[in-house]
C-alpha cells in the first residue's frame, strides 16, 4: 500500500513538472516595439498627379506570439497623430488640425487585434483600427515572424501595408482637398524580448 502511495505521489509530481515545462515551452512570447527599427509611413495622392510621402515619428506597441496556436497571438499598435511628419512644417501643422487628424481631440491612431491566424509567411490579423474617433475592422497580412537572436536580445520583424479611405473614418468629405481620400500606409516593425 505504501509503495502504491509513493508511486502515486511521484507520478503526480512528475506530471505537474512536465506540465510546467510544457507551459513554459508553448507559452506566447511577449515582444515590445523596438522604435529604432520600426516605422509607420504613408503616402497619399496630391492633386491626383503625384504622391506625398510622410511618416509618424512616435509609435508604440506590443505583441504576443504563440508559435503553437496562432489564434492566441495578439498585436497592438498606437501611433501619435501629433508626430506626423511630411517634411514640411506648415503642412504638418495643417494635418494636425481638426479638418484632418484633429490631434488635440484624437491624439492617437490605435490598432488592436481581435483575431489572428497563421498564413504562409506570416499572420493574417484582423482588428479594430481607430482613427479620428471612428473604429473600423481592418484585416492586414503581416509578413515575417522569424525570430533571431542578436547580442542577447531576441528579435522578430514584420511588414505590412494597407489602404484606408479617410472619408471612412469621419474625415469631412468636403475637406478632402488636394490630398486624396485614400492613403496607403506602410508598417514595418521589430519586437524585442530577452
Amino acid at each position: 500500500m505504501r509503495r502504491y502511495l509513493s508511486a502515486l505521489v511521484m507520478s503526480v509530481a512528475v506530471g505537474m513538472s512536465l506540465c510546467a515545462v510544457a507551459q513554459t515551452a508553448f507559452a506566447a512570447d511577449d515582444y515590445t516595439f523596438d522604435l529604432v527599427h520600426s516605422s509607420v509611413s504613408f503616402k497619399a495622392r496630391h492633386l491626383d498627379i503625384s504622391w506625398i510621402h510622410g511618416r509618424f515619428n512616435e509609435v508604440s506597441g506590443k505583441f504576443s506570439l504563440d508559435r503553437v496556436d496562432a489564434t492566441k497571438s495578439t498585436f497592438e499598435l498606437s501611433i501619435k497623430a501629433d508626430s506626423v511628419d511630411t517634411g514640411n512644417k506648415a503642412r504638418d501643422e495643417h494635418l494636425r488640425q481638426p479638418d484632418y487628424f484633429d490631434a488635440k481631440q484624437f491624439p492617437t491612431l490605435d490598432f488592436k487585434s481581435t483575431s489572428v491566424k497563421a498564413i504562409k509567411g506570416g499572420y493574417e490579423v484582423t482588428g479594430d483600427f481607430t482613427m479620428h474617433g471612428v473604429t473600423k475592422k481592418v484585416t492586414i497580412s503581416l509578413e515575417g515572424g522569424k525570430e533571431i537572436e542578436f547580442k542577447g536580445t531576441k528579435r522578430v520583424g514584420f511588414s505590412t501595408n494597407l489602404a484606408l479611405k479617410r472619408s471612412d473614418f469621419g474625415f469631412d468629405k468636403t475637406q478632402i482637398g488636394p490630398i486624396g481620400d485614400e492613403a496607403l500606409i506602410f508598417i514595418d516593425f521589430e519586437g524585442t524580448r530577452k
Partner: protein, 308 residues
Amino acid sequence: MPDPVLYTQAMTVAAVVSALCVLATGWTRSPATAERINLACIAGLGLGLIAGYRVIHVRCAWPPINGLDRYLTIVLPLIFSIELVAYWPRLPPWGVWCLRIALAVTSSRILLHGSIYLGGPRSVWTTAATYQLLLLSSLTLAVVWWFMTSLSRRSPGISILVALSLSTQTAAITVMLAGYVTGGAAALPLTAALIGVSLAASLLRAPALSEGAVGIGVMGLFGLLFVGRFFGGLSTAQALTIFVAPLLCWVSEIPLIRTRQPWQRAVLRLGLVAVPLIVILVLSKRSFDRDTRPLLGVVRTQVEVINS
C-alpha cells in the same frame, strides 16, 4: 477646401431667413411689441443658423465627437434655450443671469470634453492648469457678456449686434487662415444671421434691442474662438483680441460722446471695433502667406531664401 461661392450663398440664406423671421412680426395687424420683436430676433437667429448650416453642409455628429460638434449640438442649443426661457414672465432677471453664468462656467468644459487638455493619462495639462484655464475663460466670457448686455440696455442700437457680427466674421476668416477651414466656415452663418436680425429690427424701429440676440452673439463668438484656439491653430492673442473688441462700443458712453446723434455714436462704435479686427486680419493673412508659400509651390529667389 474653402468654397467662397458656397459661403456667400450660406451667408445670404442665413441673413434672409433671419431677417424675414423678424419682419414677419411686423406684418401682423397688432403693433409689434418690443418683447415680440426680441423673441423674433432669437427665433430668426436660430432659423438663420439652421438654414446657413444646411447650405454649407456643416457636419453635425451626434453623439458629438469633437469640439465643433459639441459647439453646434450642445452649446448653441443651450444658449438659445436660455435666452428663450428668459422671456418667461415668472423668471426673475437674477434667475436668467444664474442660467447664463451656469452656461458661461460649463461651456469651456463642454467644448474641451475628451480632448488632450482634460484630466486622464493623455492630459497635457496639470489639474491645476486645467481649472485655471476653465476659470479664466468662464470669467472672460461672463464679463464680456455682462458688459455687452448692459450696453444694449443702456444705449440700444443695432451697432451692438453689427459689432458682434464684425468680430464673428473676423473670427471666421482668422480661424480659416490658421488652418481650420470647417471651424471658420461654421462662424459665417452666425455673422450673416446677426446682420439679418439687426437690419430687420431697425426696419421695424424696434424700441430696444434684444438682450437675447446679444447673448447669442457673444456666446456664439466665444464658442467659435475657443474651438479655434484649442483645436485649431488660433493663437491666444488673436482669440482674445477678437473676443473683447466689441467692448470698444462702450467708448460711445463717454460723457462728451454720449450727447452726439445716435448714428454718429453707431459709426464711432463700429469704427473703433473695426480697428483691432483689421489689424488681426492683416497679421493673420501675412502669417498665412508665409506659411503656405512652400505648399503652394511658390518659387523663392535665392536672396529671399537667405533673408528668411
